[in-house]
């Protein structure tokens, strides 16, 4: 129990500070403690003013994303003991590339608006009456989009993406992966609508396939893959509308299911 570990936490108060600073706390080092436990310990026992987001403690809600030693991590799934040993403190900072509101809390309205702009819901030309039953789907059809549906909106991928950091107009990894989640769904008919947003420079074309989003994603969504795959789809669509202007539209994307 005598063992402790230093945690260096970024602090920023919009009322007092012009820029963030950091504060060091020594917290007990338990084998089963994650970084979030350390933050909660600090808040309960040492400094009630520390502000951060969390909820589920089990990698589901996606609200506890922060930079731990410079890498985007879910703090509820990142063990303190992995950082113990070399004596240097664990650095905890707010997610990179987002504006900081206070301490470890970032402003994510930008993402919320982008997510909505790609219409991440099932779009149907005509809705079946309830009496006609449900839309059936084979395991194979489910398999095509299942990976993308695992996203928990934790935004670690944005914090890993230099393209988003350099130019925040980029729609970004998770929003595009989630658009693909619906594009690839056999029940959905909205691929054409989403293409208006995705096939722009701010959409897929800004991406240079750095690939870091995929590496940091705690849910193995592979947003980088989703974007490259969509580039291919959009290119095929573009050539099709060029060669056969009358057939332009959903054909390729629908047949991809």
């Amino acid at each position: 129990m005598a063992e402790t570990i230093s945690v260096e936490v970024a602090r920023y108060s919009p009322e007092r500070d012009t820029e963030p600073s950091s504060q060091r706390y020594d917290v007990p080092l338990h084998k089963d403690w994650v970084v979030l436990d350390a933050l909660n310990y600090i808040k309960d026992k040492m400094d009630g003013s520390l502000t951060f987001r969390w909820s589920c403690r089990m990698g589901i809600c996606g609200s506890c994303g922060m930079m731990v030693n410079g890498e985007p991590k879910l703090t509820c799934a990142t063990f303190l003991s992995d950082y113990a040993g070399d004596g240097s403190p664990v650095r905890v900072q707010p997610l990179r590339y987002f504006p900081v509101i206070r301490d470890l809390v970032v402003e994510i309205t930008d993402f919320m608006n982008k997510l909505q702009s790609v219409k991440p819901w099932l779009i149907r030309g005509d809705e079946k009456a309830v009496s006609e039953g449900e839309y059936l789907q084979t395991p194979e059809q489910l398999d095509r989009y299942k990976q993308f549906s695992m996203c928990i909106n934790c935004l670690l991928c944005y914090a890993a993406c230099p393209v988003y950091g350099l130019d925040p107009v980029f729609i970004g990894p998770a929003a595009i992966a989630l658009a693909q989640r619906y594009n690839m769904d056999s029940r959905d008919e909205g691929a054409g609508e989403r293409m208006d947003v995705l096939a722009q420079h701010e959409g897929i074309w800004g991406c240079t396939f750095v690939g870091e989003c995929t590496k940091v994603c705690p849910k193995h969504v592979d947003p980088a893959g989703a974007i490259q795959q969509y580039k291919l789809t959009a290119t095929i669509e573009r050539f099709k509308s060029f060669l056969m202007p009358w057939a332009a539209g959903n054909s390729e994307m629908e047949s991809a299911k």
């Binding site: 009322e15 990179r96 194979e140 750095v210 690939g211 870091e212 795959q229």
Partner: protein, 141 residues
């Protein structure tokens, strides 16, 4: 359904917030970023190879003397060094390109996604085959 569709707006106004500017040297900050930039820089050496190739074509077209001069030029240490660097970068390009193919292209067979390793392996096998064929053409004489 449409009731839920209403645009949800979160507070867009905060008294103040802090935004860090991305440094121009961001790609030096982490090894994966540096690797990414090196991968992108490989394109410069791809273009360099095209320049060498065009010089070769021009020399061949001009006659044996011009070609001998071109062969001589290729032996200048600076050019050898440049080609050695280019060799490293084009190989890096090839390896990264082949390794990333399964991310960018989903191949399905019998309703199942073909495993990444198989696609990458096929790429390398094809690379070896293409290299042998091209070398055979150039060395047949």
């Amino acid at each position: 359904m449409s009731g839920v569709r209403q645009t949800v707006r979160y507070t867009e106004y905060h008294p103040r917030w802090y935004r860090t500017r991305v440094s121009t040297w961001w790609w030096l900050s982490r090894w994966p970023y540096l690797k990414f930039i090196l991968r992108e820089i490989s394109s410069v050496f791809v273009a360099w190879f095209v320049v060498v190739l065009l010089l070769q074509i021009r020399a061949l077209s001009r006659g044996p003397q011009a070609y001998a001069a071109f062969e001589h030029w290729l032996q200048i240490p600076v050019i050898v060094l440049l080609n050695l660097t280019a060799m490293f970068f084009v190989t890096f390009h090839a390896v990264t390109w082949f390794n990333l193919t399964p991310r960018a292209m989903v191949v399905r067979f019998g309703g199942k996604r073909v495993p990444d390793g198989l696609i990458v392996g096929t790429n390398y096998a094809a690379w070896a085959a293409v290299s042998v064929v091209l070398a055979w053409f150039l060395l047949r004489s």
